[in-house]
Symmetry: C2
Subunit: 634 residues, 2 copies
């Protein structure tokens, strides 16, 4: 077996520099105003017109000459002849002379000759003082018959008038180059009459996933062949869009070299940046090397960071290229740390400052690997509302641990361990990440799942009863959920409990006629267990102890005589699913699960499920919300 | 003139309650995974399969029985016969027996019989110990000839194997109802093979703008008729999308009642919420009343909040309806405070906590109007990096002041004034609002505009030299830019200065043959001035004083003999534009402006433009950046 070895690893800074040296910029887009939100202006925009474009009445009332109102007050109003009216959107038909006023609507053009206006509330409309007129007058001169207005206040020139250009004046610098257009800027652009803007084109990022074992979500999966769903393609595409880029998903390439090469070249021709990921096979690396050698430039191979060692940076034809590690968590860590900032830079969209949170480590964490570590972490608020930070790690093969993380802490290569309580800086996955209102750990349970559905933004890690209680003692979660007998006293406040019926799940109709636990011991049945972390397992072990006490055999003997006792599955439904699949005759489980999946069930007893709260967190909003939901259940 | 009066104003809380009582929820959308980012899950998603779906090798190496390696170390390796290989995406063809190993790739299925694997780094491939074979063997049995492997370490059962379901187990609660799908969740959904999700439909929000004076951006504007561009439509549409809604812009309705009614009814039939704004005319309100009366329900009319008094809440047919004030700033304030939260609620997208900043008032601000005030504010960091908050207000008719604001402070009705230094909470317009790195105020100048273009996210308010210096003394901005003679000493650090040529701008070719300032005094020319806030005006006044000293007339006489001297425009290009439009013969301005607009120019002198920094802020990054840009200019 040939393997590429990564010696002389580049430093993270070198990797950043290498990526920065690639040009990811797209061109320029012309977009209509309604699509401009979130885009980035290419060049400065100066106002091409005055806003407003005319002297504008600020209120409903009368336009007049300020001088005609001097000295007027409630007791001694000024009397002016109303010679017309102007509404918004009309050109004034009259010119104002001394002693005259024009009725005017908010937003209308001030008529020529007027230099101020008075709001209608400070006026009274009256009949004209003298009504003698020529009898032959036409309707067009009706303005002469509008009567008079009494103005009960004195106004100064300019009062209640917004002069042309007072809001924005032609020639003024309106928006600078690089402005990320937000709602407020849309308002300014609208006011200037601009319905199209030149913005930076989003960098196009081609995503090429390789690996024979990968299947696109939605397609059928053959687990027996070792197929898994392709996590990286859609996840990296979403990350690219978070960073302001435009993701282009290329068809899955498998490990066939010609096909892979064709797709890589196509992506390089069409995109500003090509990202590959998904295959760790030597053949994939060979193809990438070949394409880079013929048409590109390899800048860097291997970075001293964990995860992310097997990272490639270079050029493919006219495109930039970064090879990401295959494991989804590693791929996303490397993407976020090294690639996303470069996409943001090219898109002109800087990382919001709000994307950082300062917190304290919830427990000690050891390293000392001499590499920068990118540690996915979760956040939880302690009893005082201060953020606690805990590492999230399901192992390097895990595809989903990021779903349980809120951000990343970068730990320097010289750091051997982070102390409990040590302050750290968390880069949130995005500025709109909200730490959970409640962090729970422990047993997997359907009643609990329904309770969680009623809460706002909870996070629950179904690690099993035993690890849940351990973590509660360590002080990280808000609550632990424990099923079955408690092995030892826990210092915790019990928020509530319920009871669940447990036993063994069998095929519908119970074809093997299982009736008691003894049947599992005595007969040749294929059994599927839960792990020893599970509270179900603890109740099963206790039942076996009881059975042993009633018989001659030891509990250990009983266990050994059950085929499959040692194979423990993690989730509460997994044994039932093995029974459905025909891989087992009997599985440990809950009555509720059997019922829901239309399977047979042999009850072995009831067990309590307790919700135990960290005593320091009982006043926390999320904990109180859960306590209320528990109380409502009863 | 008839006017609707708003008596018995509702409280802001009543308004919130009235809007909350309207149902804005849309239905359910089924969206493909690639479009799921940012959408909100309707129901809980449980894992329907194990991830991984099989026991999976975590590394490249050899699958084996752990028991066969017990006791092995560097000095005494275990020797196993290699009986085949499995790559990722292949179904294992072999079953492992005692003493055997299978070469395995990262991610491949563990062959039956193996319970652990050892990484290739801890092994050596060797020739088989015995090579005697039957000569008639076929190629298909080639695995028998794969040789042996020396394993230089002992492994335990399960080592380097990720068991089926270890990442996510079937039946596990994956994502709760109401989850806003982010990149990390896309990873989990991918891993579960889910390529479509049921999400909340975005509430559709119809936007109806009315008012004869409004023109859609991009169309021609007739200022003489009092037309202005419609600011509300696109701005509110952008705000709707910020809040997670889908905006639908309806054609502009003018003030024609039948048309307005038709559009309102159409919007009500098609949308979850209809927002109207733009017209303050009584006829628009009449139409709305009529439609509500016939087909709906008026819940509330008028709210005790400033701005926003003339607000309507009700139902139009099956749609919710909110009438916003016509002035753009008022409309957006009311939209953000009352309507956006309801859209967020319906969309299931809560306001990110990051959308709030705590700061101190930069100066005292008086109110005492007995209404809640929604105060648009800007943010600037003081010398210690602490946020200072200052009100932004260009008057109620201003359409663009929000472009200079970062958020809103809500001031209670009982508050008479906010003290200088008083802590306030700012609701940012959006969580990605970044306060400016530099806040400058003062003279409008083309050289300055170019300097600003080179800075990252500056904000400059071109209020003129005199107000700029006043604000600098008040301690709000980082820098003030002052042109012309300084009236009095300012306590400030001069970051740099340049000189600009000023004079009067005339039509190309100087048809009126203007040569000196005296020509303006002596001849019958229409002149356009700048406001007395401007440094250009200050130099002009000084030049007139000099001219007066050289003649018999007083400076005041000289001023009065210039036609248009008292009409001062705000921006440095405005007089030049009046000359272009033929509204004036001569305008005060800069040589650079004349040059750029291909106009004639008569120089009257040079004036300094000084950049003066708040002495407490000279170390602030944005100020240093500006100082560096100034130094580079020289």
């Amino acid at each position: 077996m040939e393997r590429k070895e990564f010696r002389d690893l580049a430093s993270p800074d070198d990797a950043r520099e290498a990526i920065a040296s690639l040009s990811l910029e797209g061109g320029i887009d012309r977009v209509p105003l309604e699509d401009a939100r979130g885009r980035v202006l290419v060049a400065r925009l100066d106002a091409e017109l005055d806003v407003p474009g005319f002297d504008r009445a600020s209120l409903d009332g009368y336009a007049l000459r300020a001088r005609d109102t001097f000295g007027a007050d409630e007791a001694d109003p000024a009397r002016l002849a109303v010679v017309g009216e102007v509404h918004a959107g009309e050109e004034p038909a009259v010119e104002l002379e001394e002693g005259q006023a024009v009725e005017i609507s908010t937003g209308a053009v001030m008529p020529s000759g007027a230099d101020a206006m008075v709001p209608v509330e400070r006026t009274d409309r009256v009949e004209p003082r003298s009504t003698e007129r020529a009898s032959g007058e036409t309707a067009s001169a009706a303005s002469d018959t509008d009567g008079d207005v009494l103005v009960r206040t004195s106004v100064a020139p300019g009062d209640n008038v917004m002069f042309a250009g007072a809001d924005v004046a032609a020639g003024e610098r309106a928006l600078g180059p690089g402005t990320k257009i937000t709602t407020r800027d849309i308002g300014l652009l609208s006011a200037l009459g601009i319905d199209e803007v030149l913005v930076r084109a989003k960098p196009t990022v081609g995503i090429v996933s390789t690996g024979d074992e990968l299947v696109r979500p939605g397609d059928d999966l053959e687990s027996a062949r070792g197929e898994i769903y392709d996590v990286n393609s859609y996840t990296i595409a979403a990350g690219v869009e978070d960073a302001g880029g435009e993701a282009v998903l290329y068809p899955h390439a498998g490990d066939e070299q010609d096909e892979m090469e064709r797709i890589l070249r196509e992506a390089a021709a069409e995109c500003d940046l090509v990202l590959s990921s998904g295959s760790t096979s030597a053949s994939a690396v060979d193809v990438i090397y070949r394409v880079i050698e013929e048409q590109g430039d390899l800048l860097l191979h291997g970075v001293s960071v964990k995860p992310g060692k097997p990272m490639l940076v270079g050029r493919l034809a006219d495109s930039a290229y970064v090879g990401l590690p295959g494991y989804p968590v590693s791929a996303m860590m490397v993407f976020r740390t090294f690639v996303a900032p470069a996409i943001r830079e090219a898109a002109g969209v800087p990382e919001p400052t709000a994307a950082t949170v300062e917190g304290r480590m919830a427990r000690q964490e050891r390293y000392g690997e001499g590499r920068v570590r990118l540690m996915p972490v979760g956040l939880v608020e302690d009893g005082d509302g201060e953020p606690l930070v805990y590492p999230v790690d399901k192992g390097s093969g895990a595809t989903t641990s990021l779903a349980e993380a809120d951000g990343v802490v970068e730990v320097g290569p010289e750091t051997d361990y982070l102390e409990d309580g040590e302050p750290v800086t968390v880069q949130l996955f995005s500025p709109d990440v909200r730490p959970p209102t409640l962090l729970g750990v422990g047993e997997d349970d359907p009643t609990l799942n329904r309770l969680l559905d009623g809460l706002e933004n909870p996070r629950y890690l179904s690690v099993g009863t035993r690890p849940g209680l351990r973590r509660l003692r360590e002080g990280v979660p808000d609550v632990a959920v424990a099923a079955g007998p408690l092995e030892r006293e826990v210092e915790a406040a019990e928020l509530g409990r319920w009871s669940r019926e447990w036993g063994v799940i069998v095929q519908a109709g119970n074809p093997h006629e299982v009736e008691t636990l003894a049947d599992l011991v005595d007969r040749d049945l294929r059994f599927v267990n839960r792990t020893s972390d599970s509270g179900l397992r603890a109740s099963l072990e206790a039942a076996l102890e009881d059975l042993a006490a009633d018989s001659d055999a030891s509990a250990r003997d009983l266990r050994e005589s059950i085929d499959g006792f040692d194979l423990g599955l993690r989730a509460h439904e997994s044994p039932a699913r093995k029974v459905i699949a025909g891989d087992a005759d009997v599985g440990l489980g809950l009555a509720e699960t059997a019922d829901r999946l239309d399977l047979g069930f042999v009850s072995l007893g009831e067990q309590p499920v307790r919700v135990l709260a960290n005593p320091d967190r009982t006043e926390k909003a999320g904990v109180r919300e859960l306590a209320a939901a528990l109380a409502e259940r009863d």
